[in-house]
């Protein structure tokens, strides 16, 4: 075991490395809404940590509490040993933030957006000018340096926001739904680059409601719903713990699904009835499909696939992640 075991009060995560972010019993209440309701987690240095959950789960609220830009109602929050509510500037100095909604200045040029944002960190122009060019390269926006941000496409703006978050060489990067609005190719490029940033020692905190993103990007994640953590683990642990190895998806047509479900209740280890299809959880999907056929049922379509985090979420909440 190579990781440092520390006896620091900052908290120790499972792997034995020191937690760079630690939340205990975090709460945020808006009037009657408990947006975040007693959430606890620890994120190790250099880890890639995910918050997965549907709309309104409390992901963005949690992210803003980590950055200290939102006053929490209760609980303990530390980033690198500091409370962001008390030492906001110290915490944010080495934090990179990609907000859910872009807040670029559309009247300013692409390059000036990077440079002026860097100024807020007290970084000198001599550092910022070459840095801006490197970041434009990173975001594949070098030819657009002088263009006004208003002239960029949505995906290009998103890439610029992500590049901007790196201007202060953050040790922790908070990414709130980073790939919203990116095309599939740009998403893959971004995942690849985030992975390299992580290899370079940057701690990543990512929110998403895309399970493929969570699976690709996160070493460990929590599944959130209604402000609470439903489960925690690596993507593989979660899938193993809350689902079977494979899933058989069968469709009988909207009217017949319910009837078929009754006759298939004992096939596989679990059955989910969705409006448009049935999900049969079984370690051997093909065997389950043969059992379906043996009962004299012939689905319109059938598909055997590996379990995903979507299935974990369905199991935990009884709802789909994305409707």
């Amino acid at each position: 075991m190579t990781s440092r075991a520390t006896a620091s009060t900052d908290g120790v995560v499972a792997s034995g490395t020191q937690a760079v972010i630690r939340a205990v019993g975090l709460t945020k209440v808006y009037g009657r809404v408990r947006a975040v309701d007693g959430v606890s987690f620890e994120i190790a240095h250099g880890e890639s940590f995910g918050l997965l959950g549907p709309n309104g789960a409390g992901k963005s609220t949690t992210m803003r509490i980590i950055g200290g830009t939102l006053q929490r109602t209760g609980g303990v929050m530390t980033v690198a040993g500091l409370d962001p509510a008390e030492s906001g500037p110290e915490v944010r100095a080495h934090l990179g933030v990609v907000p859910q909604e872009d807040n670029l200045d559309e009247e300013l040029s692409v390059r000036d957006n990077l440079i002026m944002y860097g100024r807020y960190f007290g970084l000198p122009y001599a550092y910022l000018r070459p840095k801006a060019d490197e970041l434009l390269e990173f975001a594949q926006l070098a030819e657009w340096a002088k263009a006004k941000v208003g002239d960029l496409s949505g995906g290009m703006k998103r890439r610029l926001t992500i590049a901007r978050s790196l201007v202060n060489e953050p040790q922790v990067l908070l990414l709130d739904e980073p790939t919203t609005g990116l095309d599939p190719q740009a998403r893959h490029v971004l995942w690849d680059r985030l992975f390299r940033l992580k290899e370079a020692g940057v701690t990543l905190v990512v929110t998403t409601h895309f399970m493929d993103e969570a699976e690709q990007l996160c070493d460990r994640l929590v599944v959130m719903d209604h402000g609470r953590i439903m489960a925690e683990g690596t993507p593989r642990e979660l899938i193993r713990g809350y689902s079977t190895r494979e899933v058989l998806e069968v469709r009988f047509g909207a009217e017949h699904n319910a009837v078929a479900a009754e006759r298939l209740a004992d096939v596989g280890s679990r059955l989910e009835v969705l409006p448009d299809r049935l999900l049969i959880y079984a370690d051997d999907g093909d065997a389950a499909l043969r059992q379906v056929a043996a009962r004299g049922l012939s689905p319109i379509t059938s598909l055997v696939r590996r379990s995903s985090l979507e299935d974990v979420f369905l199991r935990l909440t009884g709802r789909s992640l994305i409707d």
Partner: protein, 305 residues
């Protein structure tokens, strides 16, 4: 494909895309400790926002510059020369007590117009743009995620706007000189007076704008029922004392009147008791400091929940 660049072997992106050196990008060693950056931001955060505001203003520099030159010309020609000719023919001079010590109408109205036009411009700078910062364009949320504090954003925005008014007041003062409408050697003091009046009206207006969470329909109301009455009834075009007493309070409570009276003293040595001069200054400073305090508080509240 034996000679394929192996360093890209694991990349899932398209082949051949330029990859910046990510290790350098993540940690070039050029960024100081968090404590150092935080200390800089605590001291200079407001100024960083002003820098941003100024870079932004570059885009409007030509149109604002043109406005700053043309507007005093229009006012001075129309009111000073046009209306002034009429006034001077009718009553001789204005502003004197008992017929003596008066000055030509152009001299009387010139410094007042400097103050009044600056205050009118404040109405454009610290209303809709504030709303854009919080809501429409979310511009304040960018610095919010950095070591700069909401209070510093509030002060920085006001500061940037006041820099504009240093320029605008200076241009207006130069125009006064060109029109021979500022005979006193102290007339340059109209510039700081113009800026102080802008702050005295601007800071509370900024706080009010920051406190609105809807679409800013109220600004039309402010324009019609606050700014226009100040323009017309706060001693710009005629001394406050010629108005019926029951209307004079409009002047007393408006920064425009206090600023105007100070500007007149600076521009042509209008005579007022010392205590009144001190009251003018005190009122302007009070409006400014209360406004700034309220704006800082409101920004912190709105950017913190």
């Amino acid at each position: 494909m034996a000679d394929q660049d192996l360093s890209h072997a694991g990349a899932s992106g398209p082949p051949g895309y330029a990859v910046a050196d990510l290790t350098r990008l993540a940690a070039s060693g050029g960024v100081p400790d968090a404590a150092v950056l935080a200390r800089r931001a605590r001291r200079w955060g407001w100024w960083y926002y002003i820098e941003y505001w100024l870079v932004n203003a570059k885009a409007w520099a030509v149109s604002i510059g043109l406005y700053m030159v043309v507007m005093p010309l229009v006012y001075l020609i129309a009111l000073g020369l046009g209306l002034g000719l009429l006034v001077d023919r009718g009553v001789g001079t204005v502003g004197g007590s008992g017929g003596s010590g008066g000055v030509p109408y152009l001299t009387f109205v010139g410094p007042a117009l400097l103050v009044a036009t600056v205050v009118m411009s404040v109405g454009g700078e610290l209303t809709y743009p504030v709303m854009a910062g919080f809501k429409w364009r979310r511009l304040y949320w960018a610095p919010r995620a950095t070591p700069v504090s909401p209070q510093q954003i509030a002060v920085g925005h006001l500061g940037g706007v006041l820099i504009r008014f240093v320029l605008q007041s200076t241009v207006f003062w130069v125009m006064l000189l060109l029109f021979h409408a500022a005979p006193s050697g102290w007339s340059w003091l109209t510039v700081p007076v113009g800026v102080l009046t802008a702050a005295a009206f601007g800071a509370p207006l900024q706080a009010y704008a920051a406190h609105l969470t809807d679409e800013g329909y109220q600004f039309a109301f402010v324009q019609r029922f606050v700014i226009m009455p100040m323009f017309l009834f706060a001693g710009t075009f005629f001394p406050l004392s010629v108005m019926p007493v029951y209307l004079q309070w409009i002047g007393w409570i408006s920064p425009v009147w206090h600023g105007t009276q100070l500007a007149r003293q600076a521009a042509y040595g209008a005579v007022e008791p010392l205590w009144l001069t001190l009251v003018h200054l005190a009122v302007l400073l009070l409006f400014t400091s209360v406004g700034v305090a309220l704006a800082r508080r409101t920004y912190a509240r709105r950017l913190g929940r």
